[in-house]
Amino acid sequence: MKSLVAFKTALFALCLVPLARLVFFAFTGRLGANPIEFVLHSLGTWTLTLLLVTLSITPLRRLTGWNCLIRVRRMLGLFAFFYACLHFLTYAGVDQSFDISAIIADIVKRPYITIGFTCFVLLIPLAATSTHAMQRRLGSRRWQLLHRLIYLIAAGGVVHYLWLVKKDITQPLLYGLVLVVLLAMRLVWRRRVTAGAALSRPLG
């Protein structure tokens, strides 16, 4: 128990490193010639990274048998939401100077912003229902159904990245590849479970 608290604290601190790095860069003039773009892109890629880390908890648990990993999944998911909020606020506030009509025009007209914004909005109910109390109120079936949205959101995040780059799609494809692997593992396991269930049925 004590070691879990230590692990959670360390992980919490680790999740703040990307933000601390940006703050440090800002104060030491290392954000480059286009600091707004640098911060925006950095927050975006960290959102996507944390989404993928969150999605890797279940496969990791199955591979390693470390069931305690489930205890940090919510925190990781909430950090993904935290970076998504910062990413959106940087876009809306710093990049667009809270020009609401320009932001709405962007969301309606630019497919990559449409999908990015949709994913951000879909993250909100997941964050809001992340507490134990909400879990109990929804019931585990409904809660699980709702939280399957994360697959859609992560895929949307990859597409958001893919559609915004000018030409070199290496980076978004890497994120996409990781996502495909994480989802494929789930499918394989699920099929095995179904196949196993079929086999264990009395044969006649």
Binding site: G32, A33, N34, I36, E37, V94, D95, Q96, S97, A105, D106, K109, R110, P111, Y112, W163, L164, K166, K167, D168
Partner: protein
């Protein structure tokens, strides 16, 4: 045959109002430069930089230039990597001396020349220009540039020369980015003859009065300030005058996103993002993008009667 008669006074010949109001200072500056120039050629003191006592140009903007650090660390030069910081890291492998530029095609005097010869044909001037990237950011850059028209005239274009094609060096040893197939190499660009002959079009050989850094397209690159940055091809090894509209790299890579003309136009969006505004590096809020990047007075007449939505 259709003969196009130019108007009596073309827009480019009308003196800019600000410049006219400022004519005394401008004349004094010209005089001072002239005195300094003769002084320098007579007396011994070595010039501070390689391009000391540069001739100023009335075509320069009075906006304050971006710091050298911005201009040399934030580059789109895929021959050295696709990240903006890559060229500054990787371009040291480019060998810029010796360097020759092949001028051929529809010309009477096809030849290979070095940069020094080009500088004799068309003496360097300081040209402080706005640069607007198709990615919606911009800078102000103090180039040292050779007016392109004088160089093309030297080669004596034939009557069949309708376009100018430019080619970047193709050497994956020196340009590691060319080992990837992200674009088709070598990088190609083109201008219509009247665009190439326009007084704003220059071949840049320097920056901030110094020799052009490798990551900015050394030793010689095109600068056409009324067009998106990708038109201003870097590290040029060949200038070919041709009859047909040449291929340009970004148009070939994504024809629905990047055209041949690529004139800066806030009214025609990139299919994926708006071109209405831009972020001037170093500024917080975006500023509105101007038609032809603010050079409409000088160049709009080149495109009269053309549908700029079609010829983007």
């Amino acid at each position: 045959m259709l003969i196009r008669r130019p108007p009596d006074i073309s827009a480019s010949e009308i003196t800019d109002q600000n410049l006219y109001r400022d004519r005394r200072r401008f004349l004094a500056a010209g005089l001072a430069a002239g005195v300094a120039f003769t002084g320098a050629s007579l007396a011994a003191p070595a010039p501070a930089g390689p391009f000391a006592n540069l001739r100023k140009s009335p075509l320069s903007t009075s906006e304050s230039p971006n710091p050298l650090r911005d201009i040399t660390t934030y580059n789109n030069f895929y021959e050295f990597g696709t990240d903006k910081a890559d060229p500054a890291q990787n371009a040291h492998t480019l060998v810029t001396q010796p360097w020759t530029v092949r001028i051929d095609g529809e010309v009477k005097r096809a030849q290979s020349v070095d940069v020094e010869t080009l500088m004799r044909w068309s003496p360097p001037e300081e040209r402080i220009y706005r640069l607007r990237c198709v990615e919606a950011w911009s800078m102000v850059i103090p180039w040292v540039g050779l007016p392109l028209a004088a160089i093309i005239k030297r080669a004596e274009p034939t009557s069949r020369a309708k376009y100018v094609e430019f080619t970047t060096l193709n050497d994956p040893q020196q340009m590691p980015g060319e080992r990837s197939s992200i674009l088709e190499w070598p990088y190609l660009e083109g201008l219509r003859m009247d665009e190439a002959m326009h007084s704003l079009a220059i071949l840049a050989v320097g920056l901030y009065g110094d020799i052009l850094p490798n990551q900015n397209g050394a030793p010689i690159r095109l600068v056409v300030p009324w067009k998106y940055g990708f038109k201003s091809i870097k590290s040029i090894v060949r200038i070919r005058l041709v009859e047909q509209q040449p291929v340009n790299t970004w148009n070939r890579a994504a024809p629905n996103e990047y055209g041949f003309y690529a004139n800066v136009n806030p009214a025609v969006d990139h299919p994926r993002w708006s071109q209405a505004k831009e972020r001037r590096l170093g500024e917080f809020s975006k500023r509105p993008t101007l038609p032809f990047n603010g050079y409409a007075e000088q160049v709009a007449s080149l495109y009269s009667g053309m549908d700029l939505r079609k010829f983007y």
